[in-house]
């Protein structure tokens, strides 16, 4: 096993991808490594004809993934939109891995992302010494994806300032990246496309211009529908985390995960699971991803500071940290929830005590 903390998807699941490639009999578009059907299978999981089991990567609606994959076969780019922690980047990484065999062509969007991070930059030493030349050009992931006909990923597209976002318009509509300094242009090879992700519940985002919006097909990734689905997601991700971190701890009981997910869902939806009691909603998003990290955190606590078994005490700090994003208002919300909901549940006494004592 390598010592890399987190491997790229295409390496981590290399066996599955190879197997899918072998079994894949459908037509592959352009430079795609797999057929669209096989890409969907890779993401949603399933059993291949020879009995090989493919792990599900995304747990949720198959239709959404189908729309996403179908979009990438057309010449429109894909925009994955949703709350933080709804597996947007995760889906985008796996799509790129399955389609291009390469999920590393990535631009992380921030308020400081400039044009040179998306189009191309210059090696200034060379530029001064030799003047503008191909050699002095510094390629970006987008440019490389265009040259090789692969999928480029842009994370947090809406964080990039609006004028920089618009540099994507020519790339997406004409599939060309002009380099006026050299009087040339990079022509996109077949198979090139962009997957962008964006948040819809965040401060300081720049809405896409309608010209750019038109180049994207939007797929909104929702929070999980049912509690079972969410528990499943948390369980799978926690297990893979355990493997990577090599924690000397017993596997978390399903019951613990269920309680965490219940707390998160109730606070997120503003109503108890039985639909009877209304609850105030805290300011944080309380996504599935956060539930996963709370459980992971609890596991680490149990392993190094506890008795090796995941208990309410190990989880309490994590839960409170996830819920209390605003020290004043969220605290009231949390206390109300603790006193009116958690306290009344007979078998939740330990969690109540652990949270109250903190």
């Amino acid at each position: 096993m390598s010592n890399v903390l987190r491997q790229h998807a295409e390496q981590l699941f290399i066996e599955e991808l190879e197997e899918l490639k072998k079994q894949d009999t459908e037509k592959r578009p352009y430079t795609w490594q797999l057929s669209p059907q096989a890409v969907v299978t890779y993401l949603m999981g399933g059993r291949l004809n020879n009995g090989f089991e493919v792990q599900p990567k995304y747990i949720g609606s198959r239709r959404l993934i189908e729309i996403a994959v179908a979009t990438l076969t057309t010449d429109r780019a894909l925009l994955l939109y949703g709350l933080p922690g709804t597996a947007k980047s995760w889906v985008s990484e796996h799509l790129a891995a399955a389609i291009s065999g390469d999920s590393t062509l990535i631009v992380q969007g921030t308020a400081g992302t400039g044009e040179e991070a998306i189009r191309y930059g210059w090696n200034y030493a060379r530029l001064l010494a030799e003047g503008p030349s191909e050699k002095a050009l510094v390629e970006t992931p987008v440019m490389r994806a265009m040259q090789t006909g692969k999928i480029a990923r842009i994370e947090e597209l809406t964080r990039i300032s609006a004028d920089v976002q618009d540099t994507l318009i020519t790339i997406l509509s004409e599939k060309i990246l002009p380099v006026p300094e050299l009087n040339t242009a990079v022509m996109a090879q077949k198979g090139f496309n962009i997957i962008a992700t964006a948040n819809n519940r965040d401060k300081g985002v720049n809405d896409l211009s309608s010209a750019l919006k038109r180049r994207f097909n939007t797929v909104i990734l929702p929070v999980p529908d049912s509690i079972e689905e969410e528990i499943d997601i948390v369980k799978r991700r926690v297990e893979s985390y355990e493997k990577v971190m090599e924690l000397p701890v017993e596997r978390p009981a399903l019951e613990e995960i269920r309680r965490i997910v219940t707390i998160f869902r109730e606070l997120r939806n503003g109503v108890t699971a039985d639909g009877k009691t209304k609850i105030k909603v805290p300011s944080g998003t309380l996504s599935t991803a956060e539930a996963i990290s709370v459980v992971n955190n609890g596991l680490a606590m149990a392993a190094y500071f506890g008795d090796g078994q995941l208990k309410a005490d190990d989880l309490a700090a994590g839960i409170i940290g996830a819920v209390l994003k605003d020290p004043v208002q969220d605290k009231l919300v949390w206390q109300e929830y603790l006193e009116t909901v958690v306290k009344t549940r007979e078998d939740w006494k330990d969690i109540y005590r652990a949270c109250r004592d903190l």
């Binding site: 729309i67 994959v69 179908a70 076969t73 057309t74 429109r76 925009l79 309608s210 038109r214 097909n217």
Partner: protein, 748 residues
């Protein structure tokens, strides 16, 4: 000689196309269609230019019209296409299902209540649900769909048969598939099902006997195998022997797409009539035409959609179809593409597409000379005359009752309302004045049942509504119900019924001992007498009984105000309030006088509930019956320290009820309260303060602020209110305004 059994899905556009093509190829000399033979007589209307689908055959029992079933047909219904083919080619067409005359009776013996909505032969578009508790509700077709790798049987059927371009052998395939299902699934014995299939076979045999050579049979896919493999004729005849029978009537009625859809609770409904119509009309559409319609709908809603958007959406839907190994994008793919490309992933616009395009609001038409109940003919005649068309979508009308046509429209709507045909819904008209009415009209095909049912009361709207109301008046024992009826009957101008109603009101009023019930109806009656003038109706009849009733109330009210609980007192207080309003509206000196005396009695009885006592005193002050020193005396008496604080507080609350503003402008009232407070000893004031607070807290914030300002100014309160002096009036100029004011008041 040969029999061609075509198994179809009800309202399936692909099935319809296949049936049409198949019939044109084999050229049958008779067509048999799954449907009620009771309606064979009205089949000749099919093909008439004015019979425009969606329409339905209504089968009803003239004796009990609520027991009725509909057989709806859309343009894309295979049955409709088969019937049309037969009519076009002048060959006989017959229905072959078990006659409703029998089915009604069978149903009645099996279950006491029958749902008027559900046509039994169309229980499900494809096949009956297996009514077995263990297998839950499972459509047998789902087995076939599951075997083909689909999770939804409707979708499987759609892609297998409805979207299919090449109809070769499709009917043989369907029959074989269903045959396998019927053999392998052990379905519980269903007598009705057996009877229906037996009758279908009987009809086929009958056609054979009549020497028809090419017989085309159109039936639900589920029945196809049962009609291909014929058992012995004797078995069927034995089964059908001695069935009970009732008399039924049939007619064509217009239908709507909305009623055809699942969401309106119709058993054999389809999700998307609008979409089906689209694929019926444009079978080769690859989605471009549909997307253009979506785009133009969006543009109509001020949402910018470019041609490129449409293009991209069509492309995405095709890519999705390819990904799902479908040969053509279905509605699902198109919707997903719309959502992703046109709506940026937000689904609120999808609602619009659903109601406007996928379901759509089409309503059918029925020729005017079709035989139908006389009441319906009358309604349609009046609708045409008054230009109030039946529409599937709602339409708003503002009626100006001073105009002849609008008045007649209003009368018609009120009359239909009285008959229980809720075509129009009344809204409070904006703007003041009683000559305006606002209505929202939306026609519902199920009114046909109501019309047939109410047809027993008369052949015209006027006659039927009048008779029906009189019947209700005679049987009802609730005063309130009768007065509500009266309120509608007067604008409906049903004079005979009004007289009966008034008489009934009088009778009931005399009999009732409940003064509160009487008081509840008074405002309504007063409303009527006011309304009467605008309506050119003689309202004096109502005024007479109002007088009588008010007298009755005045007699028993004082006793009713004694020893009652707090909440009852509050309720009574509201009634007294509206009663007082009504008296003021009536402006009958005699009645006003009597009312004042009653109030006086109430106010001066110590046992009256204090809140009512206080209010009665206030009303008397408003009527100028108790003024000056009298008022001060009454006030101080009630507020004296000997009475317990709770009682004084209640009295004060009643006295000042809703009068924050009144206290501001009525200087007499102000003076009384001000002086009383001014003379209070300090200790007494402290004691009373909480009570005052309680009363004043009911006033609005602005009122309280102004009261405070006024209190600064002392007794006269001039600091708050500047009264206009009435001294310097320029008489000449004032006279010029008088005609205008008179005109505004309606006095010529």
């Amino acid at each position: 000689m040969s029999i061609h059994v075509l198994g179809i899905r009800h309202h399936g556009p692909g099935s319809a196309r296949n049936v049409k093509e198949y019939l044109e190829r084999i050229k049958p000399d008779i067509v048999l269609v799954e449907g009620p033979p009771d309606a064979d007589g009205i089949l000749e209307w099919a093909g008439n230019e004015q019979l425009v689908p969606p329409v339905a055959i209504l089968v009803y029992q003239p004796e009990a019209p609520q027991k009725a079933v509909f057989y709806p047909f859309a343009e894309f219904s295979p049955e409709w296409q088969a019937i049309l083919y037969a009519r076009r080619n002048k060959i006989p067409v017959r229905f072959m299902d078990l006659p409703m005359a029998h089915q009604f009776e069978l149903k009645a013996t099996r279950e006491p209540k029958i749902d008027a909505e559900e046509a039994p032969s169309l229980n499900n578009t494809l096949a009956p649900h297996i009514p077995d508790a263990r297998t839950v509700k499972y459509n047998p077709i789902a087995y076939l769909a599951g075997a083909a790798g689909f999770d939804d049987e409707e979708k499987w059927w759609e892609h297998m048969f409805e979207y299919r371009q090449d109809p070769q052998d499709v009917f043989t395939a369907i029959a074989e598939g269903i045959q396998a299902l019927r053999q392998d699934l052990r379905l519980p014995y269903d007598r009705e099902e057996q009877l229906r299939e037996a009758h279908m076979r009987k009809t086929i045999r009958q056609a054979e006997r009549e020497m028809f050579t090419e017989i085309a049979v159109i039936c639900g896919a589920w029945h196809a195998p049962a009609l291909i493999n014929m058992p012995k004729a004797k078995d069927d005849n034995d089964l059908l022997k001695g069935l009970p029978k009732v008399k039924v009537g049939t007619t064509w009625i217009p239908w709507t797409y909305n009623r055809l859809s699942y969401s309106s609770g119709y058993g054999a409904g389809i999700n998307s009539p609008g979409w089906y119509e689209h694929i019926w009309r444009y079978p080769n559409d690859d989605g471009s035409r549909w997307m253009s319609r979506v785009a133009s709908l969006f543009r109509g809603q001020q949402k910018d959609i470019s041609v490129a958007h449409v293009l991209e959406a069509v492309r995405l839907s095709s890519a999705l179809a390819a990904l799902r190994r479908l040969h053509k994008p279905g509605l699902e793919e198109l919707n997903e593409a719309t959502l992703s490309v046109l709506c940026n992933g937000e689904d609120f616009m999808m609602q619009l597409i659903n109601s406007e395009l996928i379901v759509s609001d089409r309503i059918g038409e029925v020729p005017s000379d079709i035989p139908r109940p006389p009441l319906q003919t009358d309604i349609e005649k009046q609708q045409k005359r008054l230009r109030l068309p039946q529409t599937a979508d709602f339409k708003d009308y503002v009626l100006d009752l001073r105009k002849e046509t609008d008045l007649e429209r209003s009368i018609l709507l009120h009359r239909l309302d009285m008959l229980g045909i809720q075509w129009g819904e009344r809204f409070g008209a904006s703007g003041k004045g009683t000559f305006k009415e606002q209505w929202r009209l939306q026609w519902d095909p199920s009114f046909s049942i109501e019309i047939i049912e109410k047809g027993s009361w008369g052949n015209t709207v006027e006659e039927a509504s009048s008779q029906y109301v009189q019947h209700q008046a005679r049987t009802s024992t609730s005063l309130k119900e009768i007065v509500t009826l009266l309120e509608t009957a007067i604008p409906a101008e049903l004079h005979a019924a009004v007289e009966v109603l008034i008489q009934q009101v009088n009778n009931l009023a005399a009999a009732t001992g409940d003064v509160m019930q009487l008081m509840t109806v008074i405002p309504g009656l007063v409303q009527i007498s006011r309304y009467g003038n605008v309506r050119k109706t003689d309202a004096s009849l109502v005024e007479n009984i109002t007088g009588g009733m008010i007298t009755r109330i005045c007699i028993s009210l004082p006793a009713a105000c004694i020893s009652i609980a707090d909440d009852a007192a509050t309720e009574l207080l509201d009634l007294i309030y509206s009663m007082n309003d009504a008296i003021l509206v009536l402006q009958e000196p005699e009645l006003t006088n009597r009312w004042q005396q009653t109030l006086f009695q109430i106010a001066h009885n110590d046992s009256t509930a204090p809140i009512i006592g206080g209010y009665a005193t206030r009303l008397l002050a408003d009527h100028r019956q108790v003024t000056g020193n009298e008022l001060v005396k009454a006030f101080s008496y009630a507020m004296s320290s000997a009475t317990s604080p709770a009682i004084s507080a209640a009295w004060l609350e009643g006295f000042l009820k809703g009068s924050g503003t009144l206290l501001l402008v009525d200087n007499d009232l102000w003076t009384v309260v001000y002086n009383w407070m001014h003379h209070l000893e300090e200790d007494a004031f402290k004691q009373l303060l909480p009570l005052l607070r309680r009363t004043f807290s009911n006033f609005s914030k602005a009122e309280r602020r102004k009261l405070g300002e006024k209190a600064k100014g002392g007794v006269t309160g001039n600091a708050g209110i500047h009264q206009q002096g009435a001294d310097n009036i320029d008489v000449e100029r004032a006279l010029k305004g008088v005609p205008v004011v008179l005109k505004m008041l309606g006095i010529k």
